[in-house]
């Protein structure tokens, strides 16, 4: 046991003496959370739009006021007639034009049917959809207010409600994803590099000749990275609660438990990579290409799994981060009880056991 302690200390020395890596390891979660939380987001704010208002009456004026008040829009131009709309879009600075029909208020009051057209630049389809949704919502609310004043019977109005994330904040989606990505990166990539470094330097040979048991050598390598990942987990959770305002809706205890399970999966993956590679460069490439890319692309963090072609959906099943992200979304964002994520817990547990069994077997074979 004393041997083991000495050995863990040595691993910590390796990590702490390498200032740059240390900075990356502890700084990365903070930077990623801030980037994803504030900069990289699917929300659209301050989009430049134009309004074409040939009728200029009390109704259009009210709607325009509401639109101007919205944080999503920045009204740059007001046109008097629709002729210039095409030219405006060509300039490329305008994302959407809200175009009212002539005699808007008159039509609205007399025939009860006034038209407004939303023309959006769909070169970026996501932004276009989002913007038209925002605008429709504003116009819809005006319509509703009008109805309550005039009191027309038998009106069916729909009301959309966003559960768990009423403000549609992007951070709700990214926090679980960033957690999955960071834990995977630190555990899998850093441990595999740390083990392979000893192989590359030739120190592994010396350690194997020593009376220290091989399994203890490996375990001692894993301990510091486990502690580091745990620190990162806590940092990300604190940042998301206090900076991004994403609450932990469910049980914090189970959220941490599931995260630890995922850390074990990642450590086992790192161990496996260290067995099949001989150089630090190879270990880094494999962890980067085989783990990081799928976590970003296939785990559901950025692109919905439901939209993928069926073969990719199958492929996404073997990605541990997918299950972890689902579990975190349930436990953290929706606040469902732990019983709702039992399938994910079981899948991750099976993955840990399988990966550990394979890596230890490979490690033993290599010694022979």
């Amino acid at each position: 046991m004393k041997q083991f302690g000495t050995f863990v200390m040595k691993e910590f020395h390796h990590i702490f003496r390498d200032r740059r890596t240390m900075l990356i390891l502890l700084g990365m979660p903070i930077i990623q959370i801030i980037l994803f939380g504030f900069a990289i987001t699917t929300e659209v704010k301050n989009a430049n739009i134009a309004i074409c208002d040939p009728s200029k009456d009390i109704a259009t004026e009210r709607i325009i006021e509401r639109i101007k008040a919205s944080e999503h829009f920045n009204v740059t131009t007001i046109l008097n007639n629709p002729d210039k709309i095409t030219a405006l879009f060509r300039e490329g600075k305008t994302s959407m034009v809200i175009c009212f029909s002539e005699r808007f208020n008159e039509n609205l009051l007399h025939s009860g049917n006034a038209q407004v057209q939303l023309i959006a630049d769909a070169a970026d389809p996501n932004t276009a959809t989002t913007l038209t949704n925002y605008a429709s919502a504003i116009i819809g609310s005006f319509q509703q207010d009008l109805m309550t004043q005039i009191n027309i019977p038998f009106v069916i109005s729909t009301e959309t409600k966003f559960l768990y994330n009423p403000q549609m904040k992007g951070a709700y989606n990214f926090v679980p994803g960033v957690l999955g990505m960071i834990l995977m990166l630190i555990c899998a990539m850093m441990t595999s590099i740390a083990i392979v470094r000893e192989k590359e330097m030739g120190t592994m040979e010396v350690l194997l000749v020593s009376p220290m048991k091989p399994i203890l050598i490996i375990l001692a390598k894993l301990v510091p990275y486990f502690i580091l990942s745990f620190t990162n987990l806590i940092t990300v959770l604190l940042l998301s609660v206090f900076v991004l305002g994403v609450p932990v809706a469910g049980s914090l205890f189970w959220l941490i438990m599931v995260s630890m399970l995922f850390i074990f999966v990642s450590l086992a993956l790192g161990l496996m990579v260290s067995n099949i590679t001989e150089t630090q460069m190879a270990a880094m490439l494999i962890s980067g290409m085989a783990f990081m890319m799928p976590v970003m692309l296939l785990s559901g963090m950025m692109f919905p799994i439901e939209n993928m072609p069926v073969p990719l959906q199958w492929l996404s099943n073997i990605i541990p981060a997918k299950w972890y992200i689902i579990a975190v979304k349930n436990l953290m964002i929706k606040g469902t009880p732990v019983s709702s994520v039992i399938p994910e817990i079981v899948i991750l547990s099976v993955m840990v056991l399988a990966l550990l069994a394979i890596s230890l077997k490979m490690f033993k074979n290599r010694l022979e």
Binding site: T6, F7, E205
Partner: protein
């Protein structure tokens, strides 16, 4: 007393026989040179003696323990140093000493006594807090050797310990080896430097997995009618059919 014994040791990888029926004995306190061209099977043989790989057939013992049955006991009683490895670069001198002493089970108060002793003997006291990467290569090798015998093993295996080191430092390194041998530690050393081979008590030369010659440097020179060990080595190595890697 025999510290290393090998009887018809064979190691095969598939159809390739890396080590082909080697037999020899090494006495306590002897400096035994283990020579051979690259690919002759030196490293494979050495790995078997260190308990890292099991022989395909034949018998062997190191420090009184069977290499097939008790590799773990062997590991406790040997030291190991190679050219490729000289300590951890990002650890300080004393931390390296502490780490390896700890791994070999040297007790806590013994560690501090031995550390001071070792640093004094090498004249390294002022380098105690230095990171190993800031030491010159020759110093590293000397330190590395001293660390490998800190737990006073019965045998120490040195795998090309002086590779890339200047002649003066090599000379000093061999003085350390002589001191250790006088202390009763058996030295098992591989080298490519033929002048170093002359420093050994006895030498074996491996060619294509077999031991082709084994005697004192003096006798070998007589036998092969050569003026130095280099000529002896050249005559034997020329017979090799295996390609070096």
């Amino acid at each position: 007393m025999k510290v290393i014994e090998a009887k018809n040791l064979v190691k095969r990888f598939g159809t390739f026989t890396a080590v082909d029926h080697i037999s020899f004995e090494v006495e306590k306190g002897e400096i035994f040179g283990f020579l051979g061209a690259n690919g002759a099977g030196k490293t494979t043989a050495m790995r078997m003696f260190c308990g890292l790989s099991k022989p395909t057939s034949g018998e062997g013992s190191v420090a009184g323990f069977d290499i097939k049955k008790h590799p773990e006991d062997i590991k406790k009683n040997i030291g190991y140093m190679s050219q490729k490895f000289s300590l951890y670069n990002d650890l300080k001198v004393w931390e390296n000493i502490r780490l390896f002493a700890g791994i070999y089970g040297v007790s806590e108060n013994q560690i501090s006594i031995k550390t001071t002793e070792l640093l004094q003997r090498l004249n390294f006291e002022q380098e105690r807090e230095t990171l190993v990467k800031d030491l010159p290569l020759g110093w590293k090798q000397k330190l590395s050797f001293s660390v490998s015998i800190l737990h006073h093993p019965k045998v120490v295996f040195l795998d090309e310990p002086t590779g890339g080191v200047d002649p003066v430092t090599r000379r000093q390194f061999w003085e350390l080896i002589y001191e250790a041998a006088a202390d009763g530690i058996t030295i098992f050393v591989t080298t490519h430097y033929m002048d170093e081979a002359e420093y050994c008590n006895r030498i074996s030369i491996m060619v294509d997995g077999k031991i082709e010659a084994l005697d004192t440097p003096k006798n070998l020179k007589q036998e092969f009618n050569a003026s130095n060990m280099d000529e002896v080595f050249q005559q034997l190595a020329r017979k090799a059919t295996r390609k070096s890697d």
